[in-house]
């Protein structure tokens, strides 16, 4: 199949399962990542995120099921599949006697795609890893610099699919912003990004969809917008005079903090019942906080942890 075939999913997992003896790391995973989207892959430590990534890259062999990258079977046609991928591992296992430049050239050489030097330089500029730093040995690199180098090596061949394992780990907030810009930029050029992360705000910021793994099973797959819609609203109501909450709030309303001049509430569903309830109260102001992904996702995490 042609890798430019836009109908083919960038990633397709069909019943993917990986067991280690009695431990099931990934269980019957069915997942499709569309071309051109950014999918955030979430889950607690040990949920099976990295195992799934390693199965896609044929580093691990599935117990059952199949995975495809842009239509190519990750095992049977693994070379073609991997030629379409840029990969950032969770930890960069690179020998410290090499310079950053040597690492980039070595890894570029192993790819079948050619590296555009202009694009590589642009990546260096965006991630602030100048040539002078690339000439230094890796033993002199900080954690953040190694991460930047990892990102450059993953992006440098401009592959159709980027698989990133916790990409912002070790990056400072400014670099994280640069990374978000980079990711959005490559998406606009039609590239697909599959990234695992623990940082919900980052997933909310850049991802189109979210897949959440719990104990090796996919428990949530939805668009960020959809999840936001499910999230309860945080509402703060200010009063010009002292008021007292004498009656119960409508269903789906939960008090976070109550004092005579301010109520802080979590509201699930429409706001009509709240406004109805507030009629007759001396309301001076109402503040709505933006809906947060974590309000929906954290309960999923908690269920997994319990």
């Amino acid at each position: 199949m042609n890798s430019n075939d836009r109908t083919e999913p960038a990633i397709s997992a069909r019943g993917l399962t990986k067991r280690y003896g009695k431990l099931t790391a990934v269980n019957n995973l069915h997942l499709e990542v569309k071309q051109g989207e950014i999918l955030g892959f979430l889950g607690l430590n040990g949920a099976g995120k990295t195992t799934t990534i390693r199965l896609l890259l044929d580093l691990l062999r599935p117990t059952s099921g199949q995975a495809f990258i842009l239509g190519h079977d990750c095992q049977a046609d693994g070379l073609r599949a991997r030629s379409l991928v840029g990969y950032l591992p969770g930890e960069m296992g690179i020998y410290s006697h090499l310079t950053g430049r040597e690492v980039l050239d070595f890894l570029a050489g192993l790819n079948q795609q050619t590296v555009d030097r202009e694009y590589q330089r642009e990546l260096q500029d965006r991630l602030e890893l100048p040539e002078v730093d690339l000439r230094r040995k890796l033993r002199e690199y900080s954690t953040g610099m190694k991460r930047k180098l990892g990102l450059i090596q993953a992006f440098q061949a401009d592959p159709p699919l980027l698989i990133l394992d916790e990409p912002t780990e070790g990056l400072d907030p400014l670099m994280q912003d640069s990374f978000y810009d980079l990711v959005v930029g490559v998406q606009q050029r039609g590239r697909t990004i599959f990234m695992s992360s623990h940082v919900l705000s980052e997933v909310e910021h850049v991802c189109n969809r979210v897949a959440l793994l719990r104990k090796g099973e996919l428990v949530l797959l939805s668009s960020v917008e959809e999840i936001r819609r499910l999230a309860p609203r945080r509402v703060r109501v200010f009063f010009s005079e002292e008021v007292k909450l004498e009656q119960d709030l409508p269903p789906g309303h939960e008090t976070v903090e109550i004092n005579p001049h301010m109520w802080s509430l979590r509201v699930e569903g429409p706001l009509g019942p709240l406004f109805k309830r507030l009629s007759g109260f001396p309301v001076s102001d109402i503040e709505f906080e933006e809906r947060r992904l974590e309000d929906v996702l954290i309960p999923y995490y908690r269920e997994g942890a319990s």
Binding site: L57, D58, L59, R82, Y87, P89, G93, Y95, G109, N111
Partner: protein, 272 residues
Amino acid sequence: MRGPLILLVYSFRRVRTLVLVMGALLAVFQVFLIIVARSLQNSNAFAQIGSLIPPFVREVMGPSVVSFLSFDGLVCVGYFHLAVMGSLVALSMTLSTTLTSEIETGFMDLILARPLARHWIITRSIVVTTACAMGLLVMMMIGTWAGLKTLAPRDVAWPAPGLILSLASNLGLLMLCWSGVAMAIGSVSRRRSVAGSLAGLLALALFLLDYVARAWPPAESVAWLSPFRYYSPFELLTGSSLPIRNLIILLSTAIAGFVMSYIFFSRRDISQ
């Protein structure tokens, strides 16, 4: 082919210092042996040392025991001295288990996440191990030649080039044999320390088996299991021709180890 070639170049660059230093040390050792042999030759000490060997030792060990009590015999010791054999076998094992260390450090993830077939990892390891073994033996032979050229007494016979070549090729195949064994172990191991220790202990056990079997007949029945049995420098020193059968056994063991490495590595999970 570009990817495998780049990996090969990188792998050679990684081990070059280790191999060059070791080769230089072994070459210096050859020169050192020539200095010792010259000294013994000039003081006519070979005959005196020979006369000190008790008759029963000569009987048990055969004529080979005195075969190195000559200038050319002592020069050849550099190709079967325990320290030389031990360090060469250890280096072969180290080079052969590099792939395990690459898995352990996560470097293999970066390599195999690229469009590079797994068999290239084993092929690369075989090429590097074989080339380094050959390089080391060549450096040893250069040491021998340079030492003889500059330090050997004028009136003394040099070891025949064919003999040196036979010793070196037999030693080289012994190294390759242990490379195959270590690589097969390394291709199923998760830790290089485990792979190296296992291969090292196996080598030590089989070396002792061969050693014991030479003096204790009951051990003879299983001594064929030891690759060291198929490296017989004393026989070469006494004028026997290169035992092709021994070479074939060592080479076959090496090939079997390499084939097992291909199979094990192609099926394993790459996980730290």
